[in-house]
Symmetry: C2
Subunit: 254 residues, 2 copies
């Protein structure tokens, strides 16, 4: 294990950057807000100016904050973006958020598609699919229940994969599956028996539900999934500006 000043400095720089990144992501510092001054941050982290400046430099590089030359540093507008990988992959999203992802597989099956799932995957009722049911963890705590469904053409890669070992998305990419776009629908749903047991909450607890379909460039459906988050573990956020149509739509129910 490395010790000494060099290591200590590195730790502090990461710690300060993580604190600021999280505060911005979670909205404690909103676009336009001034960040705490160098002096305030050195006091808060009992640090010298070096690590504070290193942390600010990292955030500047990530496009989160202004260059701040001659005045206080400001949180930039529209900083809340999510890469395509993060849209599809819980594991990748966690890594980007400084969270350790985990998974406990409940069930992996090859089975015939029931009617509504077949329609969503654009295959025939009864055609084979691969379905995966996993509890997902954030920093070792239950956070989300995921139900993934793949037409056999894509799902066969999943059958050969240890679903307790990590990202199915990464495995599909590694197997050459062309994941090009995705649609997401977000609403709220009460925890059913399985959700409640795995997430360790009462049945009926409000969960944030994200249903996702992923497509190849040619428009074939790769995946139809249902993710249910504990709402205190994750929420969606976005900024909109006059003159820019928002790429997220509120749509009316049936």
């Amino acid at each position: 294990m490395t010790t000494g000043p060099r290591h200590r400095t590195r730790q502090q720089h990461d710690e300060i950057a993580h604190y600021l990144r999280t505060a911005i992501r979670e909205g404690s510092f909103q676009p336009g807000d001034e960040l705490p001054s160098e002096a305030e941050l050195t006091r808060k982290f009992t640090s010298s100016r070096g690590p504070v400046r290193q942390a600010m430099s990292a955030l500047r590089g990530e496009g989160l904050i202004s260059s701040g030359r001659g005045r206080r540093t400001v949180v930039l507008d529209n900083v809340l973006t999510q890469s395509f990988d993060d849209v599809i992959s819980f594991s990748q999203w966690c890594h980007a958020s400084d969270i350790v992802p985990g998974q406990v597989t409940q069930r992996v099956a090859r089975e015939p598609a029931e009617k509504s799932l077949a329609a969503s995957l654009r295959i025939e009722e009864g055609d084979p699919i691969v379905s995966v049911f996993r509890l997902r963890l954030m920093d070792e705590a239950p956070a989300m229940v995921e139900r993934l469904n793949y037409p056999f053409e894509f799902g066969r890669h999943v059958l050969a994969f240890d679903t307790d070992s990590g990202s199915i998305y990464q495995e599909l990419i590694d197997q050459g599956v062309d994941i090009n776009r995705a649609s997401r629908t977000i609403d709220a749903v009460g925890a059913n028996d399985d959700d409640a047991r795995l997430l360790e909450v009462p049945v009926g607890t409000p969960l944030l539900r994200v249903r996702r379909r992923a497509f190849t460039t040619a428009g074939d459906v790769i995946e139809s999934s249902d993710d249910r988050y504990l709402p205190w573990k994750a929420s969606f956020t976005m900024n909109s500006t006059r003159g820019n149509p928002s790429s997220m739509s509120l749509i009316s129910g049936d």
Copy 2:
């Protein structure tokens, strides 16, 4: 009342366009999906080709579908956009979705800001705010409970407005308030006593919660609100494509 073929044709064209628009918005037809053929639509609506072509032309003009020259018409990618007006205004969003909006005001008050609201509005604790609590209706049925809070500087316009008459957003615009951008955070929450009574559901029913802050161009906070939708009345949807960072982010909780 006008009757005769001219009127009948007009009605059918609108009806067909409304059917297709709604099916696309609600995801029954996804990007890349082919629309029903002209022949299928004429059968479905017992229509001649004229109104079907008029409807398709309208949707083409709205950027929802491909030009379809020589082949079937296809739903376009990234069609799910929402104008800035729709982001802020439930009334405007309803109008854009062919829904009649309504409201039943529960309470309008001038009162001192409590601590967390003051922080969100960037004013001092105890400074005066105007708060509005309304039940919102979609086609006359309960759909959403809204809690709006304004610093007095902006809220004074609301005090003078009949909040049962329609859009507060429109009134603020008419009064010259510079509403330039907004941030939204989306999660799930159980109905509290007030929500449950107004929405006519049991306490604890999962609701889709949208918390919004609106800003002037200069960065002043105009509004801090909390909207709670019955999830079968509204959901969020968006498309993402590889290579484009998504403007909506899933963020981790505290």
